[in-house]
């Protein structure tokens, strides 16, 4: 049988391809990759878990990719048309069909099971004893509401901030998300957090900062002409700094309330109340100062 020696040769080539791909991907472990090949910094406790899954899938799909493309190129080169060549007349092989149905099925089910556990931890099981924050998206800003000294929401001592989210390091935060107008998506890239803020719904997610720092919040769901500048800021403080910041916010707000005598807190307040309205306009003007045309700031919303 002259065909039997074809396979060891293919196997050798395959081994070589695997070796070279492993060598090419090795720097990933050493962290020597350019920034655009790396995932962003990990700022939440579950970010490393999500990234491990990402890299596992990258390795599995990467190996499959290399094998499939190497076989494709090998066949194209080896079985290219030459004078006198005759193609092998075969309609397939049922045993092979079974093998290459079962292997991908097993890999996929395995990945699904691995994903399920992490997904449950992140989206299903809310931690107890967490700091609660209510987040309301609107075109084109993030409103944050802290319960204030009484620990209850929708009371006069609530602390409201615009586009500024602070929380202490090492304490889980549970965020309840909603929106006033259209769908927004609360995206903290460094925390591997994303959850849509949907009008008429209250979605709950949690995360816990694992280091002190300052990052950006992006809106990840198209929400209108100002979608690109619906940017917020997240600051993870030491517990002491956080308490200090909270006290400052409370004091500032007490001062504002005395001036403007804002009516009882409702979800609509930050837009309808003059003080908050001014603040919002201020933020817009500041943010559109970049390359965005002036008209963006003038046009508040749609139609």
């Amino acid at each position: 049988m002259k065909n039997t020696n074809r396979f060891p040769r293919a196997a050798r080539l395959l081994r070589a391809a695997l070796f070279f791909s492993a060598a090419a991907l090795a720097p990933a472990a050493a962290g020597a990759l350019p920034f655009w090949l790396r995932l962003p910094e990990q700022a939440s406790t579950y970010a490393p878990e999500v990234d491990r899954l990402f890299h596992l899938i990258m390795w599995i799909t990467g190996v499959i990719f290399v094998i499939v493309e190497a076989m494709l190129l090998l066949f194209l080169w080896k079985y290219r048309h030459r004078e006198g060549r005759v193609a092998t007349y075969t309609h397939g092989n049922n045993r092979l069909e079974v093998v290459w149905t079962i292997i991908p099925a097993v890999i996929c089910v395995m990945l699904a099971l691995l994903s399920r556990r992490i997904w449950e931890d992140i989206k299903e099981h809310m931690p107890h004893d967490a700091l609660e924050v209510h987040v309301t998206g609107e075109q084109f800003a993030w409103n944050f509401r802290y319960p204030g000294p009484d620990g209850k929401f929708d009371t006069p001592d609530d602390i409201l901030t615009l586009n500024q989210l602070h929380f202490p390091v090492g304490k889980p935060v549970v965020v309840t998300l909603t929106s006033k107008d259209v769908i927004h998506s609360f995206f903290l890239p460094e925390f591997r957090v994303k959850q849509d803020a949907v009008p008429g719904m209250h979605s709950r997610i949690w995360f816990e900062g694992n280091k002190v720092g300052h990052w950006e919040i992006a809106c990840a769901e198209l929400c209108g002409l100002g979608h690109f500048r619906m940017k917020g800021f997240v600051t993870v403080d030491t517990p002491a700094d956080y308490e200090k910041w909270l006290a400052e916010q409370a004091a500032e707000q007490a001062g504002e309330q005395k001036q403007a005598t804002v009516p009882a807190a409702t979800d609509v307040k930050p837009v309808s109340a003059p003080a908050a309205g001014e603040r919002r306009a201020g933020v817009e003007a500041e943010q559109s100062g970049g390359s965005a045309p002036e008209r963006v700031a003038e046009k508040g919303g749609n139609s």
Partner: protein, 593 residues
């Protein structure tokens, strides 16, 4: 299913008389071949429009806020003085996707190749309902007119993304209404086409053409028509509901307490925001397969012809398409993992999504099996079909990332998704369409396209395609959201500009390279060498009649089919191909004895 279709000859007095006037022959034709070419020109023109929109999108991403003087004259409202406004940018990517999906990829794969090839491949004289077929095409024309017209109304074209998520799509300017009307009309066209294909393939097969002797292109279009028939009505229902929310004051998608720009939205209440997404993606995921299955069929058709070898695992190919069709209806929730849908439901959809990767894997391995020990000829159709295989592998594998719910938290709505979809729709569907174009061009126009320029076009497209779209995965990994007018607003995304510039410049080269295809397409009609009936030495019935085929496709009786479509290099047979309709002769009889 496998019973032999009744011969058409019994009631054959001509399906319809040969047209004599110019209008009936070339414009309001009922001939599936003319309608197929009409769809081809329609789709290629819209492909140009969609491509130009993409270059504007990419221009903004490479050089955010840099004016483009000539655009100030073309679109003074959206780009005053050449400076692109954010709402115009939103219109551009919305319309790019809408036009490419509904007006370019679907018409070229289903309208053009489906119409032209399927009736001849099954040995029919025309589609089952020729007048309905003409209606399908002429209904699709006003849809295209309306979608282009929407650029010129106050407030510009739709800007809510091709997915048009409510409530944003409910409060957008007038262009959105035109978008809804256009897609409703086009949906009617596709529905008529689907009914026509199903009836034709079930009833008009030539004697001996059993289901398991159907060429895989026809198999793919059969499954595609089934998906269209079952998925499109759901989209149409959703479009009508959104249209009513916009113009009749209903609130299907508008919950209570909606406040837009500080104003309470009139009579909002009782609506469900996520309802739109469920309805849209119930259609939207089968839609993805509607766009990839025909290209899979074309690839499965071309690989055996140029490997001179039977397709590996014909039945596995057919069954895996059935599997995709069935599973395609229970995976829609994977578009909604981060939407606020119950996370337990997310797990369910993750499992079904992981399972749907399996039939695609089966197809890929069978394509490799087809090449194994073949006698491979690198013609232009073959190069494009091989590119389909290798690029579809990337698009399929990157899908595993977003199928995994925790990983999807990070990459959802980032450029990773944009990279994935373009590997499937451009690397997959569009390369499949190019393969089909180069493959059937000689049949459609009777002349060969220029092979050298075809290969140059392929090489430029292949290289620049990867330069434009592969880096999108890296952008996504850095957290760059899609649909972002100016990512330089974010400090964590500022460093990505050089990569975006490289991608945009590659896109310019990619676009310029398509001029070669356009020239090759039109010049070859006159100058190309005569093709003859069967230039590729292929087995399927469309190659057993003249190029282009006569009125009603076959002179005299319709062919009788004796064997499957991919009998290449059969031992004992004189030549390396064996047409489906060739009567078993003395040579073959000897071989079987």
């Amino acid at each position: 299913m496998s019973t032999v279709a009744k011969p058409r000859e019994v009631h054959h007095a001509g399906v319809h008389a040969a047209p004599t006037s110019f209008w009936r022959k070339y414009v309001f034709s009922v001939d599936h071949k003319v309608i197929g070419i009409q769809y081809l020109l329609y789709a290629l023109s819209m492909l140009v429009v969609g491509g130009l929109l993409a270059t504007l999108v990419r221009y903004q991403l490479a050089w955010p806020g840099r004016p483009l003087a000539f655009m100030g004259k073309i679109a003074p409202e959206g780009m005053p003085g050449g400076l692109m406004l954010p709402e115009y940018y939103n219109s551009l990517f919305t319309m790019h996707a809408t036009i490419m999906i509904f007006f370019a990829i679907m018409p070229i794969l289903i309208g053009a190749f489906g119409n032209y090839v399927v009736p001849i491949q099954i040995g029919a004289r025309d589609m089952a309902f020729p007048h309905l077929n003409m209606a399908s095409f002429w209904v699709a024309v006003p849809a295209a007119v309306i979608i282009i017209w929407s650029f010129f109304v106050t407030g510009g074209a739709a800007a809510g993304g091709w997915t048009s998520y409510a409530p944003l799509s409910a409060i957008q300017p007038k262009g959105q209404t035109l978008w809804l009307i256009s897609l409703l009309i086009l949906g009617l066209s596709s529905l008529l086409t689907a009914v026509n294909f199903l009836t034709t393939i079930i009833n008009l097969r030539a004697p001996g053409m059993t289901f398991f002797r159907l060429p895989l292109t026809t198999w793919a279009l059969f499954i595609t028509a089934l998906l269209l028939l079952l998925a499109l009505p759901v989209l149409s229902a959703a479009l009508i509901m959104l249209l009513f929310d916009r113009i009749l004051g209903t609130t299907f998608f508008l919950p209570a307490g909606l406040v837009v720009s500080g104003q309470a939205w009139p009579n909002a209440g009782g609506g469900q925001v996520l309802l739109w997404q469920h309805l849209f993606w119930f259609f939207g995921h089968p839609e993805v397969y509607i766009m990839i299955l025909p290209a899979m069929g074309i690839t499965s058709e071309i690989l055996p012809v140029f490997a001179r070898k039977p397709i590996f695992g014909y039945r596995a190919m057919a069954y895996s398409m059935c599997g995709i069709a069935g599973l395609g209806f229970i995976v829609w929730g994977h578009h909604m993992f981060q939407s606020g849908m119950n996370p337990i439901l997310g797990t369910t959809f993750m499992i079904s999504t992981m399972v749907i990767a399996v039939p695609s894997a089966i197809k890929t391995f069978n394509w490799l099996g087809t090449l194994w020990r073949g006698n491979i000829r690198f013609t232009t159709p073959m190069l494009n079909a091989l590119t389909f295989v290798s690029m579809f592998v990337i698009g399929g594998l990157s899908g595993v990332f977003m199928a995994s719910t925790p990983v999807d938290i990070f990459i959802h709505d980032t450029y990773f998704i944009v990279g994935h979809i373009h590997y499937v729709l451009f690397g997959g569907s569009l390369f499949g369409a190019f393969a089909g174009l180069y493959y059937w061009y000689p049949k459609m126009f009777g002349r060969m396209m220029n092979e050298t320029w075809g290969k140059v076009h392929w090489a430029i497209t292949f290289v620049t395609f990867n330069l434009v779209f592969f880096p999108m995965h890296f952008l996504g990994m850095r957290g760059m959201p899609r649909r972002i007018y100016d990512y330089s607003q974010y400090t964590h995304l500022k460093g990505l500009q050089p990569m975006n510039q490289m991608m945009t410049i590659s896109l310019f080269v990619l676009g310029a390279g398509q001029v070669i295809l356009v020239l090759n397409f039109f010049l070859s009609m006159r100058r190309g060498p005569l093709a003859g009936p069967n230039p590729w030495h292929a087995n399927t019935l469309e190659w057993q009649t003249s190029s282009p085929p006569p009125h009603e496709n076959f002179v005299g009786r319709v062919p009788t089919v004796y064997r499957g479509p991919y009998e290449y290099s059969a031992p004992g047979h004189g030549s390396d191909y064996w047409p489906q309709n060739e009567a078993p002769g003395p040579v073959a009889a000897k071989a079987h004895a």
